[in-house]
Amino acid sequence: MNINFIKYSIVYYILFGIFVIGSILALSIFGLKFGIEFTGGSIMEVNFIDKRPVNDEISKALLNFNLGEIIVQPTGDKGAVLKFKGIDETVHQQILLKLSELSKVDERSFEYIGPSIGQELKQKTMLSMFLALLAITLYIAFAFRKVSRPVSSWKYGITSLIALFHDILIPLGVFAVLGKLYNVEITIPIIAALLTILGFSVHDTIVIFDRIRENILRKGMGQFQETVNWSLNQTLGRSISTVFTTLLVLLSIFFFGGQTLKYFSLALIIGITSGAYSSIFIAGPLLVSWYKRDEKKSMD
């Protein structure tokens, strides 16, 4: 079986464009909802032992504390997550007391993050994203330094960088939509997931590029398009299997792993799926298109 991947390059590019533009639109229209780690504030998870009061009742009870905007999200049967501005421990205890007047309550967790930490985290996130992209691109360019013909090694680096942008952008776009619809926030675990996607989806790209490198060394470099296509076919089974096993554990975390890891695993699931798409359908074909364009130029 030899699927002609390259033949439909234009279709992949169009799909790629739709995904990317869709994500950019979602990001610019809805924006991202950042969690309190980034914005500062308090988050409190409680469990009402008898019966959960309705959201309005809870908000009303807390009105006198001057908590700014209060968000009440019911969880499970009797639980609720409350989000409001930053408070100190004394106020925290008073709030607990007030809540227990409504109905007997058991506090699951409380978190308060000051505004200075949030700013710092935002900067660190940007820095580490940038460093990760840079390091990965450099590494690929270095690893492929011996294959300078017919496509130079830095082009492998740039191509995988384009694929990586796609893999990061799509989960971000999805989270922008989820934030709009379900108040899902960008939290530290999701940042960790995004960075892991960078590492993981470049796995796939590297394996495919490795095959191309090997095939070029074996068969010589004529027929670059056929070599890439052949390499894609050879690695397809592996790409699918690996993505599938990783998705298996991630789905297991998503369904059984509890609240904290839920969106963390969702981000990874989206990122790894789009990573599989970009490394099979974008990275390889893009190399060929680039090669063709250069060839055309030199012929002119």
Partner: protein
């Protein structure tokens, strides 16, 4: 030929040891059973428990920001702050607390199992308390010592000590009583060196009010010791007998009435000791202001237990799913890869126990993810093997080639993941650090298990015999 069986036995021994280290219950039960039945004395397996993060066992995490604006020796001030807070927490009776300086001016306090956050915050946030104490009159000392004995006697008989009249008296220091002079009146403490003996001395400088108080107190106590207590404990009781007297090498014995608000503690002390005392005094004198925490995270014990249970369940389901998939797709090599995967899980978990790695929810997430990624190397190798077999190569040659050709891809892709893990470490957030640590450990162990262990298993089980049963591959 014999070498590969030796390595194989080594792998099995390693796996059994790791497995029992992670979960010694079966071994111990078996040992108990045999010991009882045959009157043997097989020892129990080495027991060590996992260390779980605050999010799994419940507790409080507090981050403070110190105000270092007017402090010249910033790191010294932070160390002083940490020491004081550490001592206060120890008095609070928390098991395995963590007090860490983070960056330049942050202090992180982790209190596992603490639920009374309000008290903890209050206790930590108090200004370190420095006081100067003078000797009690003999009669008073005797009275307190008697009271202590009385209370101790009642305690020994498991009686209610609060029934003893004036029992609070027993809590006082029998030898010293507080004066009005406290850390509030200190302006600075330095380590200086004597002009004549070159020995280190501790120089104490008081502010205006302190100057007057100190003058009065020294006048009253000439030729008597003056004790300096920090947070309820003497800082210079070298003999450790609870008394600060002439026996204590650096006990400041008042030589004369001191005017000018300047005092020097002399004695036979090392520079290191002098610095330590000065640091403690400075932390009492110049309390680095920390205010209330800039971040606080409290996890109740219920939530922690639920999270742990759920993440374990997710891990087990994930592992089973991967094993099933590998066996369905790759048949016999899949079975061997699954065995290698299970050995991988045992080795990694026992490393977590052994080092030990504090396992947070994020760490467990990273580990579960690594289970899914660990088989990637095997998938790469098996795919190669299949190709080589298709090209008509014999089984053992195909196995050999498969490993050889898959190696560059395995190396490059895992190296990339390690780069990302290293970058994740830039975050000081414990969630990400825990995740990056377990994931990178997982990657390293998985390279060993997927390549080395699977190879040995293949060499032992897929000999020439299997050529006839090609459907298994």
């Amino acid at each position: 030929m014999s070498q590969k069986y030796l390595i194989f036995i080594g792998v099995i021994v390693l796996a059994v040891l790791a497995g029992n280290f992670v979960y010694p219950d079966y071994f111990n039960k078996g040992a108990d059973f045999l010991n009882q039945k045959f009157n043997l004395s097989i020892p129990h397996f080495w027991t060590k428990s996992f260390i779980f993060g605050l999010d799994l066992q419940g507790g409080v995490n507090l981050t403070y920001q110190a105000d270092l604006n007017n402090v010249t020796d910033k790191s010294g001030a932070m160390q002083g702050l940490r020491d004081v807070i550490e001592r206060r927490i120890n008095m609070f009776g928390v098991t395995e607390p963590v007090v860490q300086i983070q960056g330049q001016d942050r202090l992180v306090v982790e209190l596992p199992g603490v639920t009374n956050v309000q008290d903890a915050i209050k206790m930590i946030g108090e200004t370190p308390h420095l006081e100067f104490l003078e000797q009690r009159p003999e009669a008073e000392t005797q009275q307190i010592i008697d009271k202590i004995k009385e209370v101790q006697k009642v305690q020994k008989e498991n009686g209610d000590i609060s029934k003893v009249a004036d029992w609070q008296q027993a809590l006082q220091n029998p030898h010293f009583k507080p004066t009005e002079l406290t850390g509030k009146y200190l302006s600075k403490v330095n380590v200086v060196f004597s002009q004549t003996t070159y020995k280190p001395q501790i120089e104490i400088i008081f502010n205006k009010e302190g100057e007057k108080l100190f003058e009065q107190i020294t006048e009253k106590n000439i030729k008597k010791p003056l004790a300096i207590f920090l947070d309820g404990g003497s800082i210079i009781d070298t003999s450790g007998d609870g008394k600060i007297d002439a026996q204590d090498l650096y006990a400041p014995i008042v030589q004369d009435k001191i005017t000018g608000g300047r005092a020097v503690i002399t004695g036979d002390m090392s520079t290191q000791k002098a610095n330590e005392i000065a640091r403690r005094l400075n932390s009492g004198a110049l309390p680095v202001k920390i205010g209330s925490p800039i971040s606080q995270q409290t996890v109740g014990p219920t939530l922690g237990a639920v999270s742990l249970q759920k993440s374990l369940l997710a891990g087990i389901y994930g592992l089973l799913a991967v094993v099933l998939f590998m066996i369905l797709i790759y048949r016999l090599p899949g079975v061997l890869a699954s065995v290698a995967l299970i050995i991988y899980v045992a080795i990694t978990l026992s490393l977590f126990k052994f080092i030990p790695v504090t396992l947070s929810l994020a760490g467990i997430g990273g580990f579960i993810l690594s289970i899914g990624m660990a088989v990637d190397a095997n998938i790469l190798i098996f795919a190669r093997m299949k190709e080589e077999i298709k090209q008509g190569k014999g089984l053992s040659l195909a196995t050999e080639e498969g490993f050889k050709r898959a190696w560059p891809s395995i190396r490059d892709s895992n190296f990339n993941s390690l780069i990302v893990c290293a970058i994740l470490f830039i975050f000081s957030t414990s969630f990400i650090k825990g995740f990056a640590l377990t994931l990178s450990m997982g990657i390293l162990v998985s390279m060993f298990s997927a390549i080395f262990i699977t190879r040995i298993l293949l060499m032992v089980f897929v000999g020439q015999r299997l050529e006839k049963f090609e459907w298994l591959l």
